[in-house]
């Protein structure tokens, strides 16, 4: 069996809830697969569970949350996400992580080179000289100019973009198979964002690392992901290759998100400046029995409020909706 047949990362029916709060479910059964060399974007608005999914994979669930179901596999082997000691050998070594706030991911008291070194020392047996040489090499790999100088710099001396490069260097230090990037460019200016995305793509091309890109920015997704998964209120509502998702979104929420995103190349319809999605995201404790998007949905039917629609995949395009948006050219049912 070639590695092509086994997903790099596979999450199956992940469920997370708040301890001691009945009905407070943060993830309501999320599954995903990441293939070698692929970038999978996980898209959704705050509270949809996209960050919780990645934290659960790393075994880093915040205090007070618990996993009630779900398995995670790395190249086919189960990941012991509940076992903190075992997870220490997997974090950074096999799954690297890049967070939104590079300043918060680094310790202000130590030069950045030493912090990259710490990751290496945790997972690899290198001599002192070899390890430091590798630190300099890594800082060069993420296109930081003058890596020797940067390595000796404290975080506050570096710009946000430079810090995010250091964090990426730490994330790839042990050549992980999977890189999870949680809003890696949200705190950065748009020109720096482009540099960071280009850097991630360059590293991917070099090493074949699979990237899970968690973001709310659909523009970013359109030009950097191979596949997209859209989440809403703790569930996956749609998944497709990037081209299909943008040109023929099936879930009304995906359609709404795309329409609400400012796009100078397209005019809003219906006389509004921007097409808004009315209403707000339901509370995680809201016990609604049906689709959690139904109260805000323009296409809702009686069935939507009664039952949760199954996630159905047709020709690689999956959607959880009783009455999905018709494909272009398809006649509405």
């Amino acid at each position: 069996m070639s590695t092509r047949d086994v997903p790099l990362l596979e999450i199956e029916d992940l469920r997370i809830r708040v301890r001691n709060t009945p009905g407070a479910e943060i993830l309501r059964g999320v599954s995903l697969r990441l293939w070698p060399g692929e970038t999978l974007a996980v898209v959704g608005e705050s509270g949809c569970g996209k960050s919780m999914t990645s934290l659960a994979v790393m075994g880093l669930l915040p205090e007070g949350l618990e996993r009630t179901a779900g398995t995670v596999r790395l190249t086919g082997t189960p990941v012991p996400i509940g076992d903190n000691r075992a997870m220490r050998r997997i974090r950074a070594a096999r799954i690297g992580m890049v967070f939104q706030e590079p300043m918060a991911a680094l310790d202000p008291l130590f030069p950045v080179g030493r912090q990259v070194l710490e990751v290496l020392n945790e997972h690899q047996r290198l001599g002192r000289r070899a390890a430091w040489a590798r630190v300099i090499e890594l800082l060069g790999l993420v296109d930081l100019p003058d890596p020797e100088r940067i390595a000796r710099s404290y975080p506050h001396r570096l710009s946000g973009g430079q810090l995010q490069r250091v964090v990426i260097a730490m994330a790839i230090a042990c050549s992980p198979e999977v890189l999870i990037a949680d809003e890696p460019t949200t705190a950065l200016d748009v020109t720096v964002q482009a540099q960071i995305i280009r850097l991630l793509k360059k590293l991917q091309r070099r090493t074949g690392v699979g990237i899970v890109l968690i973001t709310h920015n659909l523009g970013l997704v359109a030009h950097s992901a191979d596949r997209v998964m859209v989440m809403y209120a703790g569930r996956k509502v749609e998944e497709a290759d990037t081209y299909s998702l943008f040109t023929a979104p099936r879930h009304p929420y995906t359609r709404g998100l795309l329409d609400a995103t400012p796009n100078p190349e397209r005019q809003a319809t219906g006389g509004r400046l921007l097409n808004e999605i009315p209403g707000i995201v339901p509370s995680i404790t809201d016990p609604m029995p049906g689709c959690r998007f139904a109260p805000r949905c323009v296409r809702r039917t009686e069935a939507c409020r009664a039952r949760v629609p199954d996630f159905t995949v047709v020709a690689g395009h999956g959607v959880a909706c009783f009455d999905p948006v018709p494909r272009p050219g398809e006649v509405a049912a």
Partner: protein, 271 residues
């Protein structure tokens, strides 16, 4: 009279002393805001746009230059003299979580500017608060609630109501939607747009997001290293950027449309 712009800024400079010496975030900014106009000030972090807003609001005295509201000079006025002009220029801040006092009820928060400036009798103040809550799309019977009971978008509606209750001529919006989700961002932008024609207020809209302001600003001023480097009609700046900084920014903006090529700054071949 119609020749006098609502807000006229000329050669404005702001500088302050920090540990390592002087910094000079605003370096000679000039622009006019006409009545009924939406002017967007766009730039990256550290370009001086927020310092400029603070100077206009009198929260940070400028080191040189002129700020005129309908021909009246307000730069260099002391707090007491400035108070006369404050009702004319109000502000909506970026963070709807830290800009509202968590201990005050929403109706108090919205009414406060009227109390401070001693406008209207108590009964009339209450009536106006309710009207304003309705205008910004807040349930009228939620006035007794506290800010934490509201979502981010609703809190920004509270901030807008509070800013508009004095019927200002100018509303400075400093990144009012950058903390919000896309679907809620659209709600707030549509609301601001509707209120503009409804109340006859003019906007100075500060943002880092050129695609957003392109959809609703009349004019855009691009700010770079403390100076305005390019101004023009929003559409014109987007389609035909003149300054190198504007071009660099537009080349890096990913438009959510897969049928178009990736922005130049995203392409690997660019290396």
């Amino acid at each position: 009279m119609s020749m006098t712009p609502l807000l006229r800024v000329r050669d404005l400079h702001c500088s302050f002393r920090v540990n390592s010496g002087m910094i000079h975030p605003v370096r000679g900014v000039s622009f006019d805001l006409q009545r009924g106009e939406t002017l967007a000030l766009v730039g990256e972090s550290g370009c001086g746009k927020t310092t400029l807003a603070r100077a206009l609001l009198g929260l940070q005295p400028p080191s040189a230059g002129s700020i005129q509201i309908e021909g009246n000079e307000i730069a260099g006025l002391n707090r007491v003299d400035l108070r006369r002009f404050r009702p004319q220029m109000q502000c909506v801040f970026q963070d709807p979580f830290s800009s509202l006092n968590p201990r005050k009820r929403v109706e108090t928060l919205i009414r406060e500017p009227l109390d401070v400036h001693q406008k209207f009798a108590p009964e009339e103040r209450r009536r106006r608060v309710h009207l304003m809550m309705e205008k910004v799309g807040l349930p009228a019977d939620w006035g007794r609630r506290f800010p934490h009971e509201f979502s981010g978008g609703q809190r920004q509606r509270i901030g807008i109501a509070r800013a508009l209750i004095l019927q200002p001529d100018i509303l400075i919006c400093d990144e009012p939607v950058s903390a919000l989700d896309v679907s809620v961002q659209a709600q707030i932008i549509n609301l601001l747009y509707d209120l503009k024609s409804d109340l006859g207020v003019s906007y100075l809209f500060i943002s880092h997001d050129l695609t957003l302001v392109e959809t609703f600003a009349d004019r855009v001023a691009m700010m770079f290293e403390g100076q305005i480097v390019e101004t023009g009609p929003a559409r014109e700046v987007w389609c035909n950027p003149q300054h190198a900084f504007t071009r660099r920014m537009i080349d890096a903006i990913p438009v959510p449309d897969v049928t178009r090529p990736a922005p130049p700054a995203f392409r690997l071949e660019a290396d």
